[in-house]
């Protein structure tokens, strides 16, 4: 692996975080290329979600480096990381239940992000057109005036993906985007993700191996905070170490 390839969008090197001495992520390194869909799999407690938390600034790292297009993310505040171009979807759908689908998307539109910008934000035609476009992409075009609280679980997941898309991030991080979805919703989501990942880098955490095979460019297997195996889906699936700790059961 060429470690200083400037073509990497994200370079995670020696990333470590320790909670009271327990190293949830231990000198982890991996590299994400432009337009790559990287899927992170691994047993429970492997540190998958923690890695995403570290990249987006939700958890402060103990050591190491996360370099995103030349920015050292470990020194930046969460909202600055977002503005640099990193979007994050949480495991449980996090949408604003008291607001409508339209308003949910509007708040994620990348304009008017400081106090006075928000105070004097105008809902102009460009904003409306963009929201309409995203809503069609996430299958919610007929529900724009509906409160998010009344959406189904799958629709909330889509809405949150839409809220990220409207920001147009260069790196999109999705934490179990199909968890709790019906088979039909799962299929639609895979189709949605395949369209989204075409022009950006994506990191996905997922357990559903069929779904992983559908979307992954490369797969990283985490185990106890370290990389156990990395490569194509086929390679990883046939790796005896992976079969032993994860896929075997």
């Amino acid at each position: 692996m060429v470690q200083n390839n400037p073509n990497f969008v994200l370079m995670v090197e020696d990333l470590t975080v320790s909670f009271d001495g327990f190293k949830a992520v231990n000198e982890l390194s991996f590299y994400v290329e432009p337009n790559e869909c990287r899927v992170i799999i691994g047993p429970n407690g492997a540190g998958k979600t923690t890695v995403l938390d570290l990249i987006c600034g939700r958890t402060k790292a103990t050591g190491g480096s996360v370099n995103f297009k030349g920015h050292e993310l470990l020194n930046m505040r969460e909202d600055q990381i977002v503005h640099a171009g990193v979007g994050r979807k949480f495991q449980t759908p996090s949408v604003y239940e008291d607001l409508t689908v339209f308003e949910n998307l509007e708040l994620s539109y990348p304009k008017g992000h400081n106090v006075f910008g928000a105070l004097f934000f105008r809902r102009d035609d460009a904003v409306k057109a963009r929201i309409q476009e995203i809503a069609e992409m996430i299958f919610l075009q007929d529900l724009l005036e509906e409160k998010a609280a009344f959406l189904s679980h799958g629709q909330k997941q889509w809405l949150e993906i839409g809220m990220l898309l409207i920001q147009d991030p260069e790196l999109l991080m999705l934490d179990e985007p199909v968890a709790g979805m019906s088979v039909a919703e799962r299929k639609k989501t895979a189709e949605l993700l395949n369209r989204i990942i075409a022009d950006r880098s994506v990191i996905v955490i997922e357990h559903d191996m069929g779904f992983v095979a559908d979307i992954a460019t490369r797969v990283t297997v985490l185990h106890q905070g370290k990389v156990l195996s990395e490569g194509s889906m086929e390679r990883v699936q046939n790796d005896p170490k992976v079969i032993e700790v994860y896929l075997g059961h």
Binding site: F90, E103, E106, L107, G112, N114, A118, L119, F121
Partner: protein, 376 residues
């Protein structure tokens, strides 16, 4: 599909609600009440400024402050200092050992006006200080807390502690602040006697106009994207943060805005009631103000005004008729409202009255939307 109705500044239903309140404050009350009672309602309405600020902070933003009396008091004290200096001319205070300084300073063997009283000789600087002092103080508190991500119950407790500390400070520094009695015996504003019935009537209307200015400002904030962000932050703070917003700066802003409203109310209290004292700064008034807001419905700015009027009217009535048990009555009212109508008076309006008004409208024009579950 994408309706514009929600971006309009005011919907017909909201306009009606504002108009009814304006009619009550500017027409019904002045016609129905004598000057003494009207002045009493004027006093109640000064608390409504605080309640409106709480609707923004607490109802919309989920920031419960139990120390709004601090900002009400600071605004009130700024006004009282100006009025006190005007009342303390060398002629009026000729019998003091140091003429020309406020009487309570003389009683406390202070012989010169402290430097920080000097700006309050100027009415212009006083008007600036009424807003600036509380807002700067609020900014410092909010900056220190929200940057460190202190929130919820911890924030409430700390604001309450600040209210207690400020009360103790004011009482302790008797020579500079008038101590437990406060600043009393206020007479004129730029030579205009504020103790006459005529002045009291005029001040009542000035107060009403300022209250409406604050109501419209609050309404604008709630209708703006910032208003929707506050609701979003209350429910999913992390999602807002990871959508690229600096959550703390929005909380600081809304807390300072609430402080500014409270300060205007405090200054108008001083003018209408003629004194300012630490009993209006401390924990009890601060909590009472939260009760006004809760009774009115913490999500409705107009509800907050009605809640303030209702609770204070009840308080005065109970305390006149049943001096021994009035506090219990007040407590019972609060419990009853919270148990039976958790969204306060505004909830009653939204659930029972507004749908009927909607019904009237939709009979006239079929275009108006069917009454939905209330938005708040």
């Amino acid at each position: 599909m994408l309706s514009n109705s929600k971006t309009a500044f005011i919907t017909p239903k909201e306009a009606i609600a504002f108009a009814i309140l304006a009619a009550l404050i500017f027409v019904v009350l002045p016609m129905a009440l004598d000057t003494f009672r009207l002045n009493l309602f004027g006093k109640y309405l000064t608390y409504a400024f605080v309640a409106v600020g709480l609707v923004l902070c607490w109802g919309a933003g989920g920031i419960l402050s139990l120390g709004q009396g601090v900002f009400f008091g600071l605004g009130g004290y700024c006004m009282a200092m100006f009025l006190k200096l005007e009342a303390s001319t060398p002629e009026n205070t000729a019998i003091q050992s140091t003429p020309g300084i406020p009487d309570f300073m003389d009683w406390n063997q202070i012989t010169a006006l402290p430097w920080w009283w000097e700006p309050f000789h100027s009415f212009g600087l006083t008007l600036i200080a009424i807003i600036a002092v509380p807002v700067v103080f609020a900014f410092i508190i909010a900056f220190a807390m929200f940057r460190r991500r202190v929130g919820g119950v911890y924030f409430a407790i700390i604001t309450q502690a600040i209210a207690a500390i400020l009360t103790i400070l004011i009482i302790g520094q008797q020579g500079f602040t008038g101590g437990v009695n406060g600043i009393t015996d206020l007479r004129t504003l730029n030579g205009w006697d504020i103790r006459t019935d005529e002045a009291k009537n005029i001040l009542y209307f000035v107060n009403g106009i300022l209250l409406f200015a604050c109501l419209f400002a609050a309404h604008y904030v709630r209708k703006s994207k910032l208003g929707r962000l506050l609701i979003a932050m209350r429910d999913q703070e992390d999602r807002v943060r990871f959508s690229g917003y600096d959550v703390a700066s929005f909380k600081i802003f809304v807390f300072c805005l609430g402080a500014a409203f409270a300060a205007i109310g405090g200054a108008m209290f001083t003018l209408q009631v003629g004194f300012m004292s630490p009993t209006l700064v401390g924990i009890v008034p601060s909590i009472e103000m939260v009760i006004f807001c809760a009774v009115g419905g913490r999500l409705s700015i107009i509800g907050a005004v009605y809640g303030t009027l209702l609770v204070n009217f009840a308080k005065t009535t109970f305390s006149e008729s049943f001096p021994e048990v009035w506090l219990l009555g007040l407590g019972a009212l609060f419990i009853a409202v919270v148990m039976a109508f958790p969204r306060g008076l505004a909830g009653i309006w939204a659930d029972w009255i507004a749908p009927r008004i909607d019904g009237l409208f939709s009979r006239q024009s079929s275009s108006s939307a069917a009454p939905k579950t209330p938005a708040e």
